[in-house]
Symmetry: D2
Subunit: 500 residues, 4 copies
């Protein structure tokens, strides 16, 4: 059991691309580290450099492994020599452990085809995987991984289009679902984002170098300047032409761009607060989530001294808690204090030994401890970003109760999670979601968590808090079950699993 | 270069002891994890269990290695089988890398002598190491490590006293300096604290088990209840007698207990905010440090909108910053906002690749990023706990400046550090301390750091903020040069280094 | 530098297949260990077991890594649980180190295609790799390795034939060169050998289980009984039908079977002496090589005491030396003694530190030492199996000279090597072969090696010594340059290298 | 289970010392590799170099670990930088696995004492360990290992003598039993051998450098010239004086040198055949053992064709088998052929997976295979050096029987082993020795092994075969129970084990 494994959605990946930097792999490594929160189980880098023998082909090299970015690439020779080159792409991933065949699934994928070298990193999930795999298999395609991402590679290789951009457009027109991609070929760096734009993807510039990354925090770490997002439904090509003219050539995937379906959970939990995604800084949105929640949740029961202590769950709800605390004070005239009542350990190993019954309790204590003086004898409000299974929340409540607050209230800056994500996040099964266990009966959930009151943000409140001058469309499927892109059936999904 | 290595004192250890618990090593492991902040380079556990052949001897087993606690012991079989037993001691340490002989220095130390088994874990530094080593060597003692701690083992083994407690008392009367010790023998668990009580050490109880640890956060993680501190000048014995009667037998080291010399830097930086040491919760003291600093530092220059943004350096100055912000608002009528302007990465690898000039900048960016929206166009105050070399501070200032605050002020919740610690912390050499580089000229330091104003807490302010109903004595040597216990000369120190 | 790396051809692989054994992976592991001499750098096993969900599909699992077989699979859980199943194939390989893309080249290869699972292990080299890769690439095929073996997988997947056997036949009809294959599908275990039969491949039986392996020593280790060789130009299918009826179904690859081209170097050096290949025990052939060499080499110069000491180079020339010694004694009336004059170290690490000039000398001394008493003052004949670059031979001669023989004669049980192998062995480049360096001038080679006389076996002698009731055809290309199957040109080969 | 673990005595160590060589650690590493057969579980090197600060002190560094020499030191930087120096000692050891406290037992041991640095490597076993440990413990000595070797270190450190040689002499006069030592101090390299000279120890010269090693094969690998043995009862000092004058100063340990007690098993099995020990090349003695055995064993039963095939067990009985075969032919008029009937695998991993019943059979097959053509239908004699438990012999007999010899006879070039060694070899317990199981009834042993006849060499034959101009004394305790030096009782031994 990973000590880091807390009750949050696990699988959402990070992608990076660097073009025209003398140490492209080193820049990719820093950028992947900044995106480590998007996937902690494996990472990889593919680099390319000019070939000494053929002007139209480059030498590609690759390294990928299980582990954290700083550990996998903790080798100067690896980054600067084996992976030397002026272009690179990288990928972070949370992969399920288990069979070795699945180890083949660590990205980026590299292969060669008639037009040369091809490497790809993918964040998101395709939704027509079954039918596409079946169609390609019938045509004689071999699959060496059990991922949906490999489909895109084969479609590019089999396209009859004559340009790389044309082949990629052709390929992406055939797949459905969520994808933010970085692709490295002999010609240059390509980035693409699905027509709905589920996952973020941005472009930056560092001197004469170009950088593509899932979030802007990956630009910041290498001091690259944010230029713009890759738009939903857009493929961009960064190549020699870009270096000469400054122009990033762009192409649409589908002829008509649908209404966007930005993943609203990126704002709630996934993205880093110091990133700017979907046109707005994440920390700003989180603060609004906290404020709106305070408005919706209303007044707390009066206490003799009128004091309320509001604490965050470090570090996922830090900013939202600040927003909550401020509105609570001004709106409800409460003597509200934002306090640090939970301390988070910085030292997390790969595994955590915890035999026997006390498992969950110890796991949470390995990560958090309370500051008793802050909580004892107080009316405490703990603000968290979301509840999935509820297991960590329960353990946290027990932990806080040990410090003897007079009351303990929980506020959640998102609505109850009721549906699995089909576009890139890995929630537990529908049955395991606490909101479903109790049939959305908030009082029953409150009781099971052991808090004195519980308030979730409403879907309306959530939608009000996110920016709306960016195309006005969000995917809220995990809260509402409204899936913007249809999914192939579960029966077929089992057939796929048989393959790996 | 360890990515985690930021410009703070490095070496201060954590010690643990557990008695009468069926999984003593597992409890020690959790406790050591809670003390991980006191030393991240190596750790070890010695466990003991009854012997099947001799009633007066126990079987001892040991495991120690470089790395984090959760990684070193990431093996259920190791903790539950190899290290099985009902008593254990443990140690965390920041050891300098390098020669293998020094690897012998990882604690706890284990050895056998005429009275049986003996294992010891030591936090602190002795000050008469040279003369004691020389004296013992002359008597034919072999030294297998280059640590001061080994001296205590030999003194115990060579004592003519007839009881274990007597031998330990005899040994400790001969050494000077700082020590918080846990000792495991065939008879039981012994804990001791030097007459000045430099380092913290507390006793807790978990059902019928006893726990000794450097800080109370190590009791919390295993839900042990705090009983009391081991007092300065006290040796305690937890054994069968304790189990039968509930009495923890105690003995003084020196006949006369001197004025305490609690390490004030434990309050400033070292101890975890959720611990209670020297009679007071650490977070409470830190809040007072921030408040007092706000009082001392006075008003900031007026800005057009009258707004001040106060940010912490996560996570070392979190609580102190809250205190600063509150007093600044009330006292200086400022529209002060505590904000989260720096984000700290949770993912830190063992090494960090950063070739070439940009080294320091990248290192700090691997750990921190700014939240631009919070800082841009604002009058920003960053509150930190201390400045050692100033290297990290400079890099942080550069990082914050990239987010374009209108002004950037730095407030430090401790006085300038001017002297090395001789009692267990590992500061850089005197010459490297930024306060000495600029001869305590605050204006020159300010300029070198690149901030618009700089204010350190005064020594008086510091002493006012710490508790004074606990015996009223602190070691402030790193700020004042007043060393409570004299040190053997540097010339001799070099002789010692020659040995290892 | 691998301490084991002596001046012999390096790359020749070993393949294994096991069918209908409850611990198929364990049997494969033993068999691969017995074939360890055929490749020491990497190994892998693919296992399959019935699927719980689909009767026509099996669950496949895979593990492959760099290292020796006993080390890679030194994990009971891996072999018995992760790789559990009743069918398995395995592969040993000497892979060149370097880029990670090449790490993808470790076999067996696994993939899924429209007809299900497909895994393949290949010993040999295809000769129409360039044109086939090019053709497939043009059709949209992605290559994920830089091996020729992957071509076969794609051809099988793309075949329009309806049965597995038909698809494999279809695929193999399109490739040229050398291959001994084991293939695992959902239906069963398939083995195939190219029409010329360059590399050995045999079938054995162990109770109700079937085993396919490169050499019979792999049958011996698991006590399987040798049944027959897979014939040149033959594909065999071992499946449920085989279990029911005892019949191994068989199919020809090409309509006409050409004259065989058995690799004669397998008899000279590669195969283990306890194996039976191409219809004859290897040790028997090696003895004949030694005998024939003694006949050809003629009498040694007379010595005062008439004594000749004949020594082997352990362990590659052990048996041949026995043959040489016996004939020398009977034919040349010499007082010939077979003696052990060189001792070989059993302990060989993965790397060997030998900085500076003395490199080669130390390397040979890490592996061999002389028995001085056997050599001093004697007329010594050292019998070796072959000379490639001559580097090891020179170092061995120096080593033996240190023991002061009066004379030192070298006898080689094969002809001078003058041409690279194109069918699976990895010789150094043509220029590096000592026979080419000296333009086949034996006297010049003798002088460069520093021996008093040198005699190679003639090609005729070599051909006389190998069995001739087995189809009467050998590949002697490395000695004669007569390549039985034409090779695509070097220009194209460079193009291929560009890919990986 | 180590795949290499065959039924032979396991524990006997190798020691090395190098003085005045610019790469002393590198030379020690080669020498330890040559002595790898004397211990395969762990190894270590201690090096020393001049100190920059004190003329009378040197800098010592150490590296030791579990594994083979070539693997432990597979790091050029480690050998040439970390362990740089002009003097070094090294040690090979077969350590039992298990508790970590025992890991502290890996040699060489390093410590510092009043006279400076002290490192020691020890081959052999002391016999008054209990009383010496007890005496030293009573005097306040701490033991950090459970080895007898540590006693010597403490005795040196506690000696009142004023010179290093004097202190070592003083220490060695107090211990009893077997020891061949290399010691490194600030002054130079010291070597010592116990008064009976149980274990070998020799001195060599390489240019201006001096080398001390357990066997001469360690001199050969670095091309050092053999000078002489360290004599029984002798301490030698190689230091600056030696470099200036060429004189190796020497001192006696006890005033009276007793009759030697050279370990006769070194000749039978332990020492490498290419070494010269106790005044004679090992291979020469082994040949005589084989010859004498052939004389004693007499004629084999006549076969129809009069042919006898004699095979060795590679590689321990190679030379002895040659001797046996020759005498058998000449003396018994048999048509005797020395043949290679068993092939030994070169590839041995650290562990060997062999679950279930077939364990022993597979283990032997992982190491050996038969050459069927040599054995089938023949009267076979297998010559081995010794039988301990008999387990490997039984498995070998089964293996050979699978090749269908008509008869199988076993000849052993040593007498039945009936007693444990107390001077450095690790035999199984007395009860497990097959000779004791069957009460020395050779016919019963023969039947249990499953051979047609069995003949051991007599003790007289053994003594006749070893050299007798070297002082005429051997320890034959393992065959006869005559222990030259008395042993402390088993009861005390258990007390010792309690300590670790």
């Amino acid at each position: 059991m990973n000590a880091n494994q807390i009750d949050k959605p696990l699988c959402n990946c990070g992608v990076v691309g660097v073009y025209n930097h003398p140490q492209a792999s080193l820049m990719t490594y820093y950028a992947l580290h900044a995106l480590q929160h998007r996937g902690q189980e494996s990472a990889g880098i593919v680099a390319s450099r000019p070939s000494s023998t053929r002007p139209d082909r480059r030498k590609f090299s690759i390294h990928k492994a299980h582990g954290l970015v700083l550990d996998i690439f903790a080798n100067e020779e690896l980054l600067l020599d084996e992976l030397r080159g002026d272009a690179a792409i990288g990928h972070n991933r949370y992969s399920t452990t288990g069979s070795n065949i699945k180890r083949a699934n660590i990205q980026p994928f590299y292969s060669s085809y008639h037009a040369g070298n091809l490497a790809l990193a993918h964040n998101g999930n395709l939704t027509n995987t079954i039918s596409m795999r079946s169609k390609l298999s019938d045509e004689g395609v071999l699959f060496q991984t059990s991922t949906d991402s490999e489909i895109i590679l084969h479609l590019i290789a089999r396209s009859r289009e004559v340009t790389t951009m044309g082949r990629i457009q052709d390929a992406l027109r055939q797949v459905r679902g969520a994808y933010s991609l970085t692709i490295l070929t002999d010609e240059g760096l390509i980035a693409a984002r699905d027509p709905h734009g589920f996952r973020p993807l941005c472009i930056g510039k560092l001197g004469e170098s170009y950088v593509v990354a899932s979030e802007t925090c990956a630009l910041d770490i290498i001091s690259a300047e944010y230029i713009r997002d890759v738009q939903p439904n857009e493929i961009v090509l960064i190549d020699e032409h870009t270096l000469r003219t400054g122009e990033i050539r762009s192409m649409q995937i589908d002829d008509v761009t649908p209404r966007p379906a930005y993943c609203i959970f990126e704002y709630v939990y996934f993205a880093r607060p110091d990133s700017r995604i979907f046109g707005e800084p994440v920390d700003k949105v989180r603060r609004r989530l906290g404020k709106r929640l305070a408005e919706e949740a209303g007044m707390l029961p009066a206490t003799p001294d009128g004091k309320v202590v509001v604490i965050n769950v470090p570090d996922s709800s830090n900013t939202a808690t600040l927003g909550y605390a401020r509105v609570n004070e001004t709106l409800h005239n409460a003597d509200t204090r934002y306090e640090i009542g939970l301390i988070r350990s910085h030292y997390v190993g790969r595994t955590f030994i915890s035999p026997g019954q006390a498992n969950r309790e110890f796991k949470v204590k390995t990560k958090f401890n309370t500051v008793r003086g802050v909580l004892e004898g107080q009316q405490v409000v703990v603000v968290d970003d979301s509840i999935v299974r509820g297991t960590t929340s329960k353990a946290l409540v027990s932990l806080i109760r040990e410090a003897h607050p007079t009351e303990l209230h929980m506020r959640i800056t998102s609505p109850p999670i009721t549906h699995p994500c089909r576009y890139g996040m890995d929630f537990p099964s529908k049955e395991e979601l606490i909101a479903n266990t109790y049939n959305l009966d908030i009082e029953a959930i409150r009781e099971s968590l052991g808090v004195d009151s519980l308030h979730y943000l409403s879907v309306e409140g959530l939608l009000d808090a996110v920016p709306h001058d960016n195309g006005e469309g969000y995917c809220t499927a995990c809260f509402t079950g409204n899936y913007p892109v249809p999914i192939e059936t579960a029966a077929n999904k089992m057939a796929l699993e048989e393959l790996g």
